[in-house]
């Protein structure tokens, strides 16, 4: 008797939700069609000006073989400046939302160890690390760059967690390294922004910047992942 009542209520609720979703879907469908119609009438005003400039001038201006790197490290380095800041603020926020833990070596994770996986990954680590560093160093010549390389290096950190969740990590030093790297990024990018025409070593500059950004991104993403993996439930409860 009771169960039938409950199931009836659940069914009624489902029907209501389904109706709402159909209404929303038809509304959105209508908007999409209007949007596509307006998109067909979109104008164009000699819109390839900037594109053709970059196409012609990027090697001459920046000594970079990769046009994308030329843009984000030279023409629009001000964006990159903020992008690195974004990652740092994100890390600050996550550190704030998940309060810091006093000890990281939880015995509860210790038994979870996959030996086969570990053996396979031990073989793979050097390859991944070399690949990441290659992406960073050759970012100004071939596809890749600081962001991608840093993320690949952070993947190493994550796979270590998958293999051996009980390992002890020293994140505090990573945090300080991140701040230090950001200060260096700020100084270097300011150098370019304020005195671009006086810089002689532009190709060296690209490599240094890529290197700094790569390690900054590595630190940031690793810390984010670390805090997610070892969320301290006590700290969430305490406030």
């Amino acid at each position: 008797m009771k169960i039938s009542k409950i199931s009836k209520a659940i069914k009624a609720n489902d029907a209501k939700n389904g109706l709402r979703r159909i209404l929303v879907a038809s509304f959105i469908l209508g908007i999409t069609i209007i949007f596509l119609f307006l998109y067909k009438h979109i104008g164009s005003v000699d819109s390839v000006e900037l594109y053709s400039y970059y196409k012609k001038m990027y090697i001459h201006d920046t000594y970079s073989q990769n046009a994308v790197t030329a843009i984000y490290l030279n023409y629009r380095v001000f964006d990159t400046f903020f992008e690195a800041l974004l990652l740092m603020i994100c890390v600050t926020g996550i550190m704030y939302f998940f309060k810091e833990k006093s000890t990281y070596n939880n015995s509860e994770y210790k038994e979870k160890k996959h030996e086969l996986l570990e053996a396979a990954l031990n073989f793979l680590y050097p390859i991944i690390i070399v690949f990441g560093i290659y992406l960073i160093l050759y970012g100004s010549k071939s596809p890749g760059g600081g962001f991608q390389g840093g993320a690949v290096l952070a993947a190493v950190f994550m796979s270590r967690y998958l293999v051996n969740p009980g390992a002890i990590w020293h994140v505090d030093s990573l945090k300080n390294v991140e701040k230090m790297l950001y200060l260096l990024i700020v100084s270097f990018s300011s150098l370019l922004i304020l005195a671009n025409s006086y810089i002689e070593f532009k190709s060296l500059y690209l490599i240094i910047m890529n290197f700094l950004i790569g390690f900054k991104v590595f630190c940031g993403l690793s810390i984010i992942f670390f805090y997610f993996a070892y969320i301290d439930t006590d700290s969430l409860e305490s406030w």
């Binding site: 990769n66 994308v68 790197t69 015995s107 509860e108 994770y109 210790k110 038994e111 979870k112 992406l135 596809p143 890749g144 760059g145 962001f147 991608q148 993320a151 690949v152 952070a154 993947a155 994550m158 993403l221 984010i224 992942f225 997610f228 993996a229 969320i231 439930t233 006590d234 409860e237």
Partner: protein, 185 residues
């Protein structure tokens, strides 16, 4: 080739939004991200494709999965030892009611639904599991006849809430003559 990729993008997006199960939705999002990455290569943007593959596909998906794994599932391990062990404890020989565990399981499940957790119950009859698997489970229910022992970790706040919940609703169980002991480790 590109048209095919575009079509699969749309299909994947619809499936991702429509799926009820969150974990599946996250996996579909990862797949969507991977197809996007392939599409970017076809659009002659290898830098973006690399970034999307590493950051969008791998890292975001892992973050989602870590969050979901920690906070959607409530693992319950139900242990009832084999009969020969019970027979050594002679006081429960008279009837076979030790098999009747429905009430306490229902209680735990009700608690989970009220907190929007997914109860994940595993039955076992091997005594030694108690020790070896203790790190994986939020709570372990150990039954001997009409006696139940519940073990949970002190640091797990859900277990503490569950204890309060069971204390509140203990009268249903006591009707059948069952007794419950709750231990925080």
């Amino acid at each position: 080739m590109l048209e095919f990729l575009f079509l699969s993008l749309i299909i994947f997006a619809i499936v991702t939004v429509q799926t009820k199960n969150l974990i599946r939705a996250v996996i579909y999002l990862g797949g969507l991200s991977l197809i996007c990455s392939v599409t970017y290569i076809m659009l002659a943007a290898p830098d973006v494709a690399l970034a999307e593959a590493v950051i969008g596909c791998t890292l975001s998906t892992i973050l989602f999965l870590v969050v979901l794994r920690k906070y959607r599932v409530f693992n319950v391990c139900f242990v009832y030892p084999q009969i020969n062990i019970i027979q050594e404890n002679t006081n429960v020989q008279d009837d076979m009611s030790y098999m009747d565990n429905a009430n306490i399981i229902k209680l735990v499940e009700n608690y989970c639904y009220s907190k929007e957790l997914e109860p994940h119950i595993i039955y076992s009859n091997r005594y030694e599991d108690l020790i070896t698997i203790s790190y994986q489970y939020d709570i372990i229910v150990h039954q001997l006849g009409k006696q139940f022992w519940l073990y949970g970790r002190k640091r797990n706040y859900q277990v503490i809430n569950l204890k309060a919940y069971i204390k509140k609703n203990i009268s249903d169980l006591e009707k059948d003559g069952a007794s419950i002991e709750f231990e925080l480790l």
